[in-house]
Amino acid sequence: MRDRKPIQPDPRRRRIITGLGALGASAALTGCDSLSRNDQLQDLLGATDQLTRAAQRLVASRESLAREFDASRIAPTMKPNGTKHPDNPEYQRLAANDFADWRLRIDGLVDRPGEFSLAQLKSMPARTQITRHDCVEGWSCIAQWTGAILADVLDAVQPTAGARFVVFHCADNTYGGPDKYYESLDMVEAYHPQTLLAYGLNGSDLPIENGAPLRLRAERQLGYKMAKYLMHVELVDSFAHIQDGKGGYWEDRGYEWWAGI
């Protein structure tokens, strides 16, 4: 009977409760915007990024695949986002020559650093997949991607035991700013069977607005991870020395490093 015992009402309690309620409501309404700019709170909120990553790694196995769709589901146009036409002269020179002089440099913590031409990448075993691209903004678009499997490319350069992240350096200055786009994956996502260095979209060469000549596909992540206009792949044990040190262009601007949600 503990839960239904008659108790006495207490007028003091009534006043305290009313007061606390009013205080809480006004603090909640005015405080949230300034709280959002508080560094410690940002760190606390950011800790949930680690939690989400750990939890999702627990439920998703290394091999669990993103859904692949039937060809009839391909969208009329794959909506391009971010940079659509890199305006730096070096990229424009490569594009003018159909990327015949373009080379993907792979170095950092690897035993056999090297450069790959587009033809070399196309001669490797290719994977074609029809997948859904999910933008952090909320929209989705289905397209067919063809490319070299990143795991095969990494096997060719032989990452050292100390390599923890694969960093993708791009040709484009996003929104014409001073910083070049870059992104990073950990080794689990990098070695995932659907992670591609893609050179084909919907059966044709990758168009410039979608990242020609080569872009990343990491199908279990949001779109901002999938760097376009790849120039250089670097294996590192930490990305703290790159730009603002958060592991990517959008990460440096406040977005989560773990883009699985």
């Binding site: 009977m1 239904r4 008659p6 990024d49 859904r132 989705s140 406040g254």
Partner: protein, 296 residues
């Protein structure tokens, strides 16, 4: 968590000594500590989740059905355009219908200027357009909300006291039309047990809307799609899940508004106290509330 009150509850409650002056009322303990803590934690979580959710929605203020986005044909869209005189106006499109929602949806005032944005700044967390911070708030609150919900739903299934409090009895199902009619006339009975309509509402919210929010939320995560592909089948695709997430969120807003109104007009202090200290004053009349319920 089980208790033995089912056997003893017919002995309860008699008018409490200090508050029985002329009124046939007694104070019983309605809500356990677990329910009270959960209720207030939930309130904070749901407000943060709603407002940060609207912030996230504003990054692409349109909804679709299916796996992907049919950009030319959204199910719902909040946008801005120019009217016949060239003045900007906010427009809400639902299917093929358009509404002028200037000032609230599509186009609203921010720091003195009319700005194109889905939901207005007063409804979003944070106020300015700031998707990254909206996501941090949303996922941090979700990490509190979802585990609490899971534990609380388990508790609601296991605890005999909670089961009795929230699952409608056969008699309450039969009385449902009368209960609805009483509510429509704002005629409230203060009983130890929830009435059938209250129970039905709580069951729908607890075991329907709230879990749907979690699962449709998870369905929007590309990693979760790889881990649990059945989520996509259950909800008909990522964009459908996003739409259901949005509809359920406004279902919860509707619940919240009705809940507040009913709490206010059916004895605000009594209701608030039952959710803070647990104490709830009941009408005793001649019969104990449990008897009254049986003969209702």
């Amino acid at each position: 968590m089980a208790d033995n009150s089912t056997q003893t509850r017919d002995n309860e409650p008699h008018a409490a000594a200090g508050c029985s002056r002329g009124r046939q009322r007694a104070v019983i303990k309605r809500h356990g500590l677990m329910t009270r803590v959960w209720h207030w934690v939930n309130l904070v979580c749901l407000v943060v989740l709603l407002m940060s959710g609207l912030q996230i929605f504003n990054a692409h203020p349109a909804l679709y059905w299916g796996d992907d986005s049919s950009f030319d044909d959204p199910a719902l869209q909040l946008t801005a355009m120019r009217d016949a005189d060239g003045n900007p106006m906010g427009v809400t499109r639902i299917g093929s219908f358009s509404f002028n929602t200037t000032g609230v949806l599509g186009l609203s005032r921010r720091d003195g200027d009319m700005t194109q944005r889905g939901f207005p700044a007063w409804a979003t967390l944070p106020g300015p357009q700031w998707l990254a911070m909206g996501r941090y708030w949303h996922f941090a609150a979700a990490w509190v909300f979802a585990p609490f919900l899971f534990v609380y739903l388990l508790y609601s299934l296991i605890s005999t006291q909670r089961r009795r409090l929230i699952w409608p009895t056969a008699a309450q199902w039969r009385c449902l039309p009368k209960t609805i009619a009483d509510h429509a006339r704002l005629r409230f009975h203060h009983e130890a047990d929830y009435n059938g309509l209250q129970k039905l509402t709580y069951v729908i919210v607890l075991f329907g809307l709230l879990p749907l929010m979690v699962f449709t939320g998870l369905t929007m995560s590309p990693t979760m799609n790889a881990a649990w592909p059945w989520l996509l089948d259950v909800f008909g695709g990522r964009q459908s899940a996003r739409t259901i997430h949005f509809i359920c969120a406004f279902g919860l807003v509707a619940f919240f508004l009705i809940h507040i109104v009913l709490v206010l007009i059916s004895g605000v202090f009594n209701n608030l106290r039952s959710m803070i200290t647990g104490g709830y004053k009941v009408d005793t009349d001649d019969t104990p509330p449990s008897e009254a319920k049986r003969h209702a």
